[in-house]
Symmetry: C2
Subunit: 430 residues, 2 copies
């Protein structure tokens, strides 16, 4: 182990990059002590040199181009906080790794799409590539799953991975106001982007889930293998009915390994209101890790924000400073398995269904016949909220194969008496 300074370049000076510089400014001595060697920020790069970032950058060498920063001979480690799966973020990461410089990144999109390739590149050149900040913000879930729980075969990793969606769903329930209203609030508060698709469409959670799955199950990152559904179709009645049944609606990412293969899915679903994930309010993230020896463990904390994300990045830097290169995904990239993808139809869950149908005698009989014919058995069924000519029918099924439920829902949607696309949400085990 060396005691020489670890010289750091920060590529990107947005909120998170500035946060990283603030931690160094506040805790330099502590960071050096914990890393066993001096950690020195020597250079930074961003598009605009003169922007006020609330932190003094005049003491660092400046590069306009992050790739030039990554190639500097006086930089041993690049902190990549530019963002975006490709473009300058990827170019700078590759440039650093290709010459054996370490990279710490908060970039979930880049890691989810190119993680396998980048991990391989890092290993070829004896560099570390770490991404604690990419999942669940400041919560050290990558370290927990990849190191702390490494003695286990993991069975399931799931959780609330997107704070924006959790904020929206929480507020809908608490305020009784509808999706678009709360989304507008979230945009005003800075919890949601002007174009909220990446969050509310489930894509951000899917990036994170693919990373957790790779690490937890020792398989190649397979972002394309994540089935993704967002929260755009969740309406207030779903949240209210779920609450009456003792559940909460959450956007949950679930990765599960079984003999039938790997399942990765992001979707709004119901969870018991008193479970760790069901009870999780606001912008907080939480991940549940289930392994064969450990049983169930839960990790909660702020999923985003300057301080938490920067904390995760600097934690990675300290680790790298300590010496010893760990493979990015726990085992060498070449040893990561290509997990067979489990056909989603073969999964089984209880379901919550909301059907909008014509309000006339015989309709319920039609609906129940379709479900019965598909071998989907009914746990509870209620008709509520009769409008003129239309009725809302809520169905909670017993556990049934996803494929059978889908077929049944598809048939129901094509019945003459069906007035709107049915809503079908799984009820997840907590």
């Amino acid at each position: 182990m060396t005691n020489a300074p670890l010289r750091i370049g920060v590529a990107g000076l947005g909120t998170v990059g500035a946060g990283v510089l603030k931690i160094f400014a506040a805790h330099q001595d502590q960071l050096n002590a914990r890393s066993g060697r001096p950690l020195e920020v020597v250079a930074v790069s961003a598009r605009n040199k003169n922007k006020d970032r609330g932190v003094d950058v005049s003491g660092f060498s400046w590069e306009d181009d992050p790739v030039a920063l990554a190639r500097r001979g006086d930089v041993d480690l690049v902190i990549e906080v530019i963002g975006g799966s490709d473009g300058p973020a990827k170019a700078a990461t590759e440039a650093a790794l290709a010459r054996g410089a370490h990279v710490v990144t908060a970039n979930k999109a880049m890691m989810a799409v190119h993680g396998g390739h980048l991990a391989q590149l890092a290993e070829t050149h004896g560099a570390s590539l770490r991404f604690e900040a990419a999942v669940a913000g400041g919560v050290p879930i990558i370290k927990a799953l990849g190191e702390g729980l490494a003695a286990n075969k993991m069975r399931r990793v799931y959780g609330v991975l997107n704070g924006t969606c959790n904020y929206i769903l929480t507020e809908m329930q608490k305020s009784g106001r509808d999706y678009l209203d709360i989304l507008a609030d979230a945009q005003e508060l800075g919890y949601a982007e002007a174009d909220p698709t990446a969050d509310v469409g489930g894509w951000d959670a899917a990036h994170k889930l693919a990373l957790l799955a790779a690490l937890g199950f020792g398989c190649k990152v397979d972002f394309a293998g994540v089935s993704v559904e967002g929260i755009e179709r969740i309406s207030l009645p779903d949240i209210q009915f779920a609450a009456e049944l003792g559940y909460r609606v959450k956007l949950v990412g679930v990765a599960e390994m079984s003999e039938q293969g790997l399942s990765q899915r992001v979707a709004p679903c119901l969870l018991p209101a008193d479970s760790a994930i069901g009870a999780l309010d606001g912008v907080t993230n939480a991940v549940v890790c289930e392994g064969d020896f450990i049983g169930q463990t839960v990790y909660e904390g702020p999923g985003a924000g300057e301080g938490p994300t920067a904390s995760a990045i600097v934690g990675d830097v300290i680790d790298i400073g300590r010496g010893g290169v760990r493979p990015t995904f726990g085992v060498p990239a070449s040893d990561l398995s290509s997990a067979a993808q489990r056909p989603e139809d073969s999964l089984a869950s209880a379901y919550y269904l909301r059907l909008t149908v014509i309000d006339k005698p015989g309709v319920l009989a039609q609906v129940t016949k379709v479900l019965g014919d598909a071998a989907v058995s009914i746990d509870q069924m209620r008709q509520i909220g009769r409008q003129p000519d239309a009725a809302t029918v809520l169905v909670v099924t017993h556990e049934a194969a996803h494929g059978q439920v889908r077929d049944a829902v598809d048939q129901i949607s094509r019945l003459d008496v069906s007035l709107a696309e049915p809503i079908a949400l799984t009820i997840e085990r907590a």
Copy 2:
């Protein structure tokens, strides 16, 4: 980094030791892959060679004496799962470290009492000494606090650190049965020892708290500095009244660092029922870590048991196999500060008081006068459960200095009208 096998000796073959051997038997290939080198159990030691432990030990060299095991030239790492703060556990640990062999231990008592000395010994000889399994069982809280959150100045670390007490308090609340009844159940279920003092007296939690404080605040382990109060005096009415007020009674360990110094205390206290710690039921453990950049993060999981504890031990072994020696408490033992101890009287909390007094006019006036004279202001006050001649008075105070509340309670207990020792529990911020 070496690829040579890491040769392991297991000292102690109780439940946890057997669990460790089971993980090696089940996941040998995965463990090697994650450690980057073969991990080989070569020798074991226990008192009775012929006992059936549900796991085959015939393939390992046998030692009757753990110190002899620790001195074997073919053992690079000793797993110490004998238990007890001194005696053979400490002797074996010292013997291993003194010759530069690594030690992984689950022994909270030994680490709380002798952690500073042992960490120094490990560093002097270039060995690793790790203790993930000593706190919160399988939950990788030592790794989270010492590595994942290392970029932060921690402000407060607190949680439910003893599953036995949490089981008892949870069951009292759910069943409405009294302390001794539930304790007897817990003993029958194996959740409590025949002599339950270490658990219900708060000592086990105090060991763990001292370790969390050392790691979180970078100071020397100071077990003697923990103020300890057990759950023996908690009775059903306290739990029921707390619930009516929206709280749960938990045995909580709290370590807090402020300008006035370090405070470490284990005591039953009230927490909001909907907080992470307040909502924690059964034998589960949970720890909340609060830092300046991260904010608040929560870690939950099984606090004890064969699988979880063995999982934590093997996680430490994998880490050591990876190479790179980390100081036991995050920074070199010689750099650990001696934190000034904050006088407990200077802490401030809201309080829950239960007073048993003579039921006659003027008594409440006497009580409120004592509180008022001590500058303890009252948030709520109720008289309940009138028995012949005796009344129970519940008081919830506003935040007040612990010293002032203690003085007031002491005076109340000496009033002529006081019929029993008052109960005073802090209400902790969640």
